[in-house]
């Protein structure tokens, strides 16, 4: 039986691709590098859009990356049910690409903020959270400049009503995110985006905990090996 293949996209300016790939491997899958300029998903079973500053985050975080050739494939794949995880800049890219509702704007404190935060799992049914239970708490790093989740009021209530808020900051959103939202999912539950970094919480030596690992394990369950 061959391992599940999880693609990790690199854009110019992507930073956390090495960590995302490491997390994928630690979870027991094969990490497949994907290049922004290739319109080719190389047959992967799932995709991680990692963090960083794609294209310097110039114009708007994630805006330019969302137009890359690989993203057209990701959008098509997501429509077919391909599990897609966006972390930090990846979350911003998925919002800009229209795969997830809302947008991420400048932190309320207006500075870059690097902190360990506690998240609560609000939906353990998505492709990326089925290894958690609702109400689980994760200690993981948040590090972003434009991490404040915002959406139109009716979008927010729709998200609340349909249980699509996957992660919330337990102790209040340090960046001022609406409704304390740290991560959301699409209607089908295969696309998830979150601002904090589960890939930096997979080894207690270099991160605050190993609480992030279950995201990468979750996706193994949903994918036929």
């Amino acid at each position: 039986m061959s391992a599940t293949r999880v693609g990790v996209i690199t854009f110019p300016g992507t930073l956390d691709d090495v960590d995302a790939a490491r997390a994928v491997r630690v979870a027991g899958a094969e990490a497949v590098p994907l290049w922004h300029g290739d319109a080719d998903l190389r047959g992967v079973d799932a995709v991680v859009v990692p963090g960083g500053f794609s294209y310097g985050d110039y114009l708007r975080a994630g805006a330019i990356a969302s137009l890359a050739p690989i993203m057209r494939e990701v959008v098509d794949g997501a429509a077919r049910g391909l599990p897609v995880l966006g972390i930090c800049n990846g979350f911003q890219i998925l919002c800009e690409a229209g795969l997830l509702p809302g947008a991420l704007v400048a932190n309320a404190g207006l500075t870059f903020l690097c902190r360990e935060v506690v998240l609560t799992v609000g939906n353990a049914e998505t492709a990326w959270t089925c290894d958690y239970a609702t109400g689980d708490e994760l200690l993981i790093p948040l590090k972003s400049q434009e991490g404040r989740y915002v959406a139109a009021p009716d979008t927010l209530s729709a998200l609340e009503d349909s249980g699509r808020i996957v992660f919330r900051y337990r102790d209040g959103a340090p960046n001022g995110a609406s409704n304390g939202i740290a991560g959301v999912t699409n209607e089908a539950g295969n696309v998830v985006g979150l601002m904090p970094h589960p890939e930096h919480a997979t080894d207690a030596l270099t991160g605050p905990s190993t609480d992030g690992l279950a995201l990468f394990r979750s996706v193994l369950a949903g994918v036929p090996a």
Binding site: L59, A63, C95, E96, A103, V105, A152
Partner: protein, 77 residues
Amino acid sequence: MARVVVDVMPKPEILDVQGQAVNRALGRIGVSGVSDVRQGKHFELEVSDGVDDETLHRLAGSLLANPVIEDWTVTRL
């Protein structure tokens, strides 16, 4: 060749934290009489004459602004 300006502003319902920071700083530099500051982006484009308004609007709405959170205006000079 024509010069086109696109101004992009946060939608009223999105909290404009940058504008608010400027508002708070007004007192510090001793300026009074300014009751509100909102901050957005200003783009100056050089476009060839064949580019029509529709193209400019598409450019503004799909690249320069994010319609989920921003409004924009396009002005030919």
